[in-house]
């Protein structure tokens, strides 16, 4: 079970003279829950976008299950993601949106409903079966829709950018449980970025700190990790 699901090889991205990403080597194993922390502008979203082939790297490559993402599109089949509200199609109703995402994976409506069952307590009856468009939902509920959609279609790799932000406290805890359950039961490789150190240490088995585009720490989570992270960000 030691397959490498995501491999980043000497990835460099510059905007003008600014180097925003420089990762010589990063390998993420199957079923791992990988946490990414760092201050604003550290390159978290840039890294995610590079993995999703939404930006062009100046150098290096990203391999998703051995597929180089900028060469072939097949990685899309096994990847689910939610980075920002642009990933929602906000003029649709949540149900329409889910069935659209389902259709892109060739799923029938019943299969979509089945896969959404895990999220029912998370949705709190405020999302499914309502006439409201996504654009008229609260920020928190929009986030819930996006996160749930990222898990549709049996993805093997899921990327979530700041999933805990904008959620109310109990939803944050529910989400933690959902992520843990799904990654264990479905063996999903998870990449999660967060500003919330407590959540990320609770959920992730490995945590990387990004600073100015570089990986400055690579930690296996243990009881001291949270303390270590806090010290790092206090002194930086």
């Amino acid at each position: 079970m030691n397959e490498i699901y995501l491999k980043i090889d000497s990835a460099v991205k510059n905007y003008g003279k600014n180097e925003v990403l420089n990762i010589p080597s990063l390998e993420i194993k199957r079923g791992a829950c990988f946490g990414l922390v760092g201050n604003n502008g550290a390159g978290k979203t840039t890294l995610f976008r590079a993995i999703l082939d939404l930006i062009q790297l100046d150098n290096g490559k990203v391999l998703s299950k051995d597929i180089q993402v900028d060469q072939k599109e097949e990685w899309k089949r096994h990847t689910g993601s939610f980075l920002d509200e642009g990933f929602l199609i906000d003029y649709l109703r949540p149900d329409e949106f889910f069935s659209f995402v389902g259709l892109t994976h060739g799923m029938e409506k019943t299969a979509v409903a089945e896969q959404l069952e895990v999220f029912e307590p998370f949705f709190k009856d405020e999302i499914l079966g309502h006439k409201k468009y996504i654009r008229d939902l609260s920020k928190g509920n929009q986030k819930k829709v996006g996160i749930a959609a990222a898990f549709l279609g049996q993805p093997e790799i899921v990327l979530l950018d700041e999933p805990f932000a904008n959620l109310d406290p109990s939803s944050q805890f529910q989400l933690r449980e959902i992520i843990k359950t799904l990654s264990k039961e479905r063996d999903i490789t998870m990449l999660i970025s967060s500003h919330d150190l407590t959540h990320v240490t609770d959920v992730c088995s490995r945590i990387v700190i990004l600073e100015k585009g570089k990986m400055v720490k690579d930690l296996q989570t243990n009881p001291q990790t949270l303390q270590e992270l806090e010290t790092f960000f206090q002194t930086i």
Partner: protein, 490 residues
């Protein structure tokens, strides 16, 4: 009050020409001039000429104008109902300030007078009065006539705004209105009962004498209705426009089964759920009448201009929507391309959507067959060309778009995201078939010219797989630049 007027003036200026490009400004200026001049000429030259031919001893100029007033009133109210903004949003900025609410209402009603429809109507009414009524009936009668017409104009503006507010979110009422209008037009077709005739008798009598002053009742009614309505709905939450006529549009929703058709359905929903795209669709449908003015008038039979008109009639909706093909979904770009959607499928869906728009326009355009059977052949050829070649050109150009469109904002005459490029890409779409037609017609005649235009379209359609692949390959290169452009907030 003066401050309010100043604000709305600034809002208008700053919205439309906010960081605009010079090329675009020039083009817009040109378009405004073009329509202004066109309507002026219509009112000054064409209409009086047409009218003169119909004026006889028994039918005076006043009778003639009165004949159409009933049509004018009902179709005008309907048009305004869909297009004229019954704006209330701006009120929000002012309700908290120490300005009396009554004053705000008056300001709002006054402001609604300054709109496109009224300007157009004036451009027709004033020359008509000067050239036909004045010489035939004298100054006094002319003033009565003018007073009557202006009353109707102001009344229409107020009443249609009232309807718009009243029926917001009530799509049954909207349908009822359409039915009533169609009904009035239909009565005309029944033998013996002519609404034109009734209109002529009643209004002809009213317009020619002091009775015209009674028409003042019309704007007064409009004023009272709106005043009452606005006084009863003073709270911001009652102003929400989101419900509006959405329910009417929701009738047009459809859902899909396959992957590509899911994309088509999605984009169709985009079109019917945003004001800007809906207006675009309605505006395009009005454009179908373009040929009414053109065929047989300014052009001779078989002239190359007819190809121009034919391409436009069968393709206007698709061109209009297609010039922003990628940008409509600009805000969703990252999401779409990181999902399990392959680029080829994406463009296949776009093609189907364009084909649908073109096909629909084509079907409607067949009505021109009643004018002349030849026009059916013309439109078929143009449709084939649009479908086979122009659609792919639009797909190709869409890979050069970098600006996302703000779908939530505004509707008619909204140029956000427009650049001169959008107008330029329309040129090859139209020039090419005209050239083909002229070349072939020179040697083999008109119908061969139609055939050639149609055949080029069909041939190109046969190569559609190749086109889709080419566009997708081109897209692959541009993808990152596009994504970056679409991520920028305006």
């Amino acid at each position: 009050m003066l401050q309010l007027i100043k604000h709305s003036f600034l809002a208008a200026i700053r919205r439309r020409f906010k960081r605009g490009e010079w090329g675009l400004k020039l083009l817009l200026g040109f378009l405004i001039m073009y329509f202004g001049v066109a309507f002026f000429l219509l009112g000054w030259l064409v209409l009086p000429e047409l009218a003169k031919q119909n004026i006889t001893d028994s039918v005076s100029a006043i009778d003639l104008s009165a004949r159409f007033i009933i049509f004018y009133v009902v179709s005008d109210i309907l048009m305004r109902f869909f297009f004229q903004p019954a704006s209330s949003v701006e009120l929000r900025h002012y309700v908290l300030l120490p300005i009396s609410y009554r004053k705000l209402i008056h300001y709002m009603m006054g402001r609604s007078m300054f709109n496109f429809f009224n300007l157009l109507a004036l451009l027709i009414i004033l020359p008509f009065a000067y050239k036909l009524i004045l010489p035939n009936h004298g100054a006094l009668t002319t003033s009565f006539w003018l007073f009557g017409f202006l009353s109707i104009l102001v009344g229409n503006t107020l009443i249609s705004a009232y309807f718009k507010r009243l029926f917001a979110g009530n799509f049954r009422a909207a349908i009822l209105m359409i039915v009533v209008v169609i009904g009035i037009f239909a009565v005309e077709l029944i033998e013996g009962v002519s609404s034109l005739h009734i209109s002529e008798k009643v209004f002809g009598f009213v317009f020619s004498g002091p009775l015209a002053i009674a028409l003042l009742a019309f704007p007064v009614l409009g004023y009272l209705l709106q005043h009452r309505f606005l006084m009863q709905h003073r709270y911001a939450e009652q102003w929400q426009e989101s419900g509006e006529d959405q329910r009417f549009w929701n009738l047009l929703e459809f859902s899909a089964k396959g992957k590509v058709s899911a994309l088509v359905a999605n984009e169709w929903n985009l079109m019917i759920r945003h004001k800007r795209t809906r207006t675009l669709l309605l505006f395009s449908s009005i454009f179908l009448f373009y040929g009414m003015i053109f065929y047989n008038r300014t052009t001779g039979e078989g002239s190359a201009m007819e190809i121009f008109v034919g391409i436009f009639i069968t393709g206007f909706a698709a061109f209009n929507y297609g010039q922003f093909l990628g940008a409509w979904e600009g805000r969703y770009f990252d999401g779409i391309f990181s999902r399990n959607i392959f680029i080829e499928d994406f463009y296949r869906a776009k093609f189907r959507l364009l084909a649908g728009l073109m096909g629909f326009s084509y079907l409607l355009s067949l009505v021109y067959g009643f004018m002349e059977i030849r026009l059916i052949y013309l439109h078929t050829a143009c449709f084939a060309f649009n479908l086979g070649l122009n659609s792919f050109l639009l797909l190709f150009f869409s890979t050069y778009q970098r600006k996302p469109l703000d779908l939530s904002a505004g509707s008619a005459f909204n140029y956000q995201g427009t650049s001169a490029l959008q107008f330029l890409i329309l040129i090859p779409l139209i020039i090419l078939p005209i050239f083909i037609y002229i070349a072939v017609k020179m040697f083999f005649g008109m119908y061969a010219g139609y055939l050639a235009v149609g055949l080029v379209g069909l041939l190109s359609l046969a190569l559609s797989r190749l086109w889709i692949k080419g566009v997708s390959d081109n897209f692959r290169e541009k993808k990152y630049v596009m994504a970056d452009g679409f991520r920028q907030k305006e």
